[in-house]
Subunit: 412 residues, 2 copies
């Protein structure tokens, strides 16, 4: 079964609102195994609604339309659909009653235009609206099914869950579609894709990469009977993990900071962070996790040399000898914040976020990360391209810092 989505509303074509309805509809359809090949958006214009509907009916079995069901002049979706299909509009007493009661129970007086919403195409089924006045419309026409729903997300979702999805589910049978996202960090998008190139060709599950700043998400999707789908996803995950090993840091909605937090809690370890170029972002991300005070002891944003010396406790001669952006100072920051706070692990970050401050030896984008723990101190040197910009470099450096922590905690 193939469906097409038509969003109606001039406000969508002016960019005044983002079409979250279409994403919701697409996702719910995917979950019950209904394919969507096209979405269309049109303004509140009868001719264009007709054009979009004709096109959709020429290539899909089911058409889901949202928007343009209200009481105003602009709201012309139902009339345009009826005209397209050559159906007369008739006054539905049940809908009119519903509207009357809706206003009565709220102690409000309806304007006369509201009853326009009681006009439905002859032969159509009314989809009840528990959450508002405009009814939905369900039309069966020459082998095609058309559902018209309001544009108000809350009302539309009520109709979708209670009426449209059950109706479609009856027709699709047992098939389900499920997805799993594997979250990956520590290498660039193309290097990761190179390592799993052949897997991206396969089906059951299909594997699709999505690049984010500092990480890549692989979405595995399978379709079929529920047990087959689960087996396919498990198989796909195992294939990816075999290739990428601990580049895979999490699944689905898991964030890198959550994984770090879980590892700290599991090992009963505490952490303190001294940040220079990342300016507090690592502390911020770690404390986004509820309950982070159990393992996050302290963060210091030591941006200037003076702050590195005074507040973190870095030996000034190290800065004078090696420069503030150096492996030595990163390690000193990690060690000093660990000692000062009494944490099990100290993380130090120093780098050049730019745009100024770079030179050929130490270009913008150079970052040193260091970890101090019971087993000693280590550092990593990273270079990010200056094109990432100041903010991009800061985000990438924070991501790399959290990933260094993750690898240290899960390997050790």
């Amino acid at each position: 079964m193939r469906a097409e989505i038509i969003s109606v509303g001039t406000e969508l074509l002016l960019g005044q609102i983002v079409d979250t309805n279409a994403a919701y509809l697409a996702q719910r359809l995917a979950e019950i195994g209904v394919d969507v090949h096209f979405k269309q958006t049109v303004g509140d214009n009868a001719t264009r609604v007709e054009e979009a509907l004709r096109l959709a009916m020429s290539r899909a079995d089911v058409v889901l339309m949202t928007g343009g069901l209200g009481p105003t002049e602009d709201d012309l979706t139902v009339a345009a659909v009826a005209a397209t299909l050559g159906l007369e509009l008739v006054y539905d007493e049940t809908v009119a009653d519903h509207i009357r009661r809706f206003f009565e129970t709220r102690g409000r007086v309806p304007s006369s235009t509201v009853y326009k919403q009681a006009l439905v195409p002859r032969g159509a089924h009314v989809i009840p609206n528990d959450r508002g006045t405009a009814p939905g419309v369900h039309i069966e026409h020459r082998g095609r099914t058309i559902f018209i729903m309001p544009g108000v997300p809350y009302e539309m979702k009520g109709m979708m869950e209670n009426y449209v999805l059950p109706a479609l589910r009856d027709r699709t049978g047992l098939t389900v579609i499920r997805s799993r996202v594997l979250r990956i960090t520590g290498e660039g998008e193309s290097a990761i894709e190179e390592r799993i190139k052949d897997l991206l060709q396969q089906t059951e599950p299909t594997i699709a990469p999505y690049a984010k700043l500092g990480e890549v998400h692989l979405r595995l999707t399978a379709k079929g009977a529920p047990e087959e789908v689960d087996a396919a996803l498990a198989r796909g995950e195992a294939q990816v993990r075999e290739r990428l090993g601990d580049l895979v840091y999490g699944i689905d909605e898991q964030t890198l900071e959550e994984v770090v937090a879980q590892a700290l809690i599991a090992k009963n370890l505490t952490l303190a962070v001294a940040e220079s170029c990342t300016g507090g972002l690592i502390s911020y991300r770690l404390t986004n996790i509820p309950g982070s005070s159990t393992y996050f002891l302290e963060g210091v944003v030591a941006y200037s040399n003076e702050a590195k010396i005074r507040d973190v406790g870095v030996d000034p001669t190290l800065i004078a000898t090696h420069g503030a952006v150096s492996a030595e100072v990163a390690e000193a920051m990690a060690g000093a914040i660990r000692r000062r706070s009494g944490a099990a692990v100290g993380l130090g970050v120093t780098g050049i976020a730019g745009p100024a401050g770079g030179n050929p030896d130490k270009p913008v984008g150079l970052v040193y990360l260091a970890l101090a723990g019971a087993g000693g101190t280590m550092h990593r040197r990273l270079t990010f391209g200056a094109e990432a910009g100041r903010q991009g470099i800061r985000v990438l450096a924070a991501q790399a810092g959290l990933n260094l922590l993750r690898l240290h905690l899960t390997r050790a």
Copy 2:
């Protein structure tokens, strides 16, 4: 001039991501007076991309496409467009060089598939990508103009602002459309709109509100001869400022942290920050500004009571008497970080971000902000709704902290 938008990406048809690109494009086009009658969304499928493009070219002068420009097999937009128009793909050395340098400066080795992105239709103009590897493509074909841009919003927006909008603006003739954004913080969206309700009805300039988390943007737009447009924008800005006073913190792309930074620099003052519930976000935002080390002396993320005592220097009896989330502790944090760092101004933030830790006296969303300066110490008590969620409360508290700083620095 009429434009049509085509979003390419199977992830859009599965509802895995919401199509914010299409809304952004529609909004920017509306601002320069370009009409959009239809938007289409298709999956990563050459036949359907072709079908969508043919339809768009049959009814629009300009077609804007986003998505499917990456290095993977799925990314077939450029090839599908070239096939539709009967154009050969040729290898563009300039693009290949850009890609090579992009990887070199990052010290990474590109996979061979990356260079697929250097294939562009013969006769097309390359739209440079400052922010990634995939170039955009600009094609003039039989009286129609086609722009192809990446799906990554950050890259797409760069191309739109720097290339596509200027190119389209040149064609819309002598009439200019200009916008100015007034950025407002310190009150809720509905309170702000209530105060300027009548202004939202006017034209020349039109004034449209956009609510963000913790701030509202008013976009003023005027259309006509350049001098008239500038006069209308100045008039509209004066009207808004008369109503809203210092709720208006900035213009256009100016951020709240930039305004704070400028005020600190103008007054030659330095700052230190002690954060609890905001966990480093205030420090992070302030150090996003290049050159922030001149005024930002130190940030401490003192999440636990121990850290507030040990690292900031808060008197433990204050915490015992009033609780960690109290006016007294916020003021003590501000005063102690100011003294310790030698900064002219100290900012302290403590609150309950939740989801746990609230009680009827001190509910989730309660935040105390305090400022310590040469003239003494003051605090503000704020309550954000628990519905904002942990992350929302943290963002709102950081915004309020920066705003308190701004008002202190600009009023004093």
